[in-house]
Symmetry: C2
Subunit: 209 residues, 2 copies
Amino acid sequence: MTPKSEQRRRELCDAAIELLAADGARGLTHLRVDRRAGFADGTTSFYYQTRAALLRGAMDRVIELDVADFTAALDATGNGEVDSLLSTLATQAMRTAVEPERSRAQARFELMMIASRDRQLGKGFDGLMDRFVALGEAAVAQVQPAGTSDPELIKEQAFAVVTFLGGFLFRLAYGLTDLDSAKSLEKYLHSVIAGVAADHQVTGNSSIP
Amino acid sequence: MTPKSEQRRRELCDAAIELLAADGARGLTHLRVDRRAGFADGTTSFYYQTRAALLRGAMDRVIELDVADFTAALDATGNGEVDSLLSTLATQAMRTAVEPERSRAQARFELMMIASRDRQLGKGFDGLMDRFVALGEAAVAQVQPAGTSDPELIKEQAFAVVTFLGGFLFRLAYGLTDLDSAKSLEKYLHSVIAGVAADHQVTGNSSIP
């Protein structure tokens, strides 16, 4: 692919994401993408010949942007720019309340619902969710008490964090604004992590079935 | 409405829910509802003249079934049939992995995405979510340590439970099966509640800003 055609594909996919967010899967057509992106009629059909290809393009673009966020989060923490991965995750999650992140989140949920019925698309999201879980594990590992590291516990905590964040992101994409700051969200994430640790310990130590 | 027309509307809405689950919003047309429900072509258009009316009917039916579940959960706990509201919530949530609850959950998420762009539909879901939060508060209130009751804490715990459960239900609707039993889910809910309580107390007692 030439740089120009790569750039064009990116713009078409960004327009597709905006349409998915604004009107759902029903609002996504090749012609509407042409017009939204400001290209001649037929451009989208040239680059993405089928609806499946267009959906795949939009999904790949969402995933590319998500992975860029994940990488930025890891880098910022690695550089010591921010306190913790958890606080970066909270800050990134709160951005879902505003554009363009809100549209991306809405498009992501639309595409995930399509992917739940389409294994080809599903594979893309499976990979994204594996990365999200890995990021959750890295964030959780950072906040373990000094000298402790129980891989089983970290898995449980990461599952809880990822599930809670998924629910929170859906609420933001839907339009609810429950929390006023990333600090509040980070506090909830800490609570979830601490609560799982406390119960894990209780169960681990208990001899009563 | 005659009982017969009420029954017919219910069957049409159930067919609409199945179509939303199977094919998304794009798969929902009046004619496809007729055929899915086994009625003569034109029946759905007779009862629901517009697409907006059909979507509203499907949403009302999802909410009716959800509220019936909420009521059953409250009744079962009131009767002493089950240990706690939290365990009933966990059991009900796990049923989302199987039909017909999975289709209802998929249709609910499809309709919520539409509702995020359509305030008329949105009002219906706002009411449902208020009831869900109230149910969460009732479940959380039951598990407070004896003699304690902090309304602010209960609100925070209910928010955390509802957000976690929302994320978990989305994962089930998407097709992920992370947990093997309602007991496991209930344990996570307990952890979330306990973690929020622990952090709430820390903040409450701390004199350090």
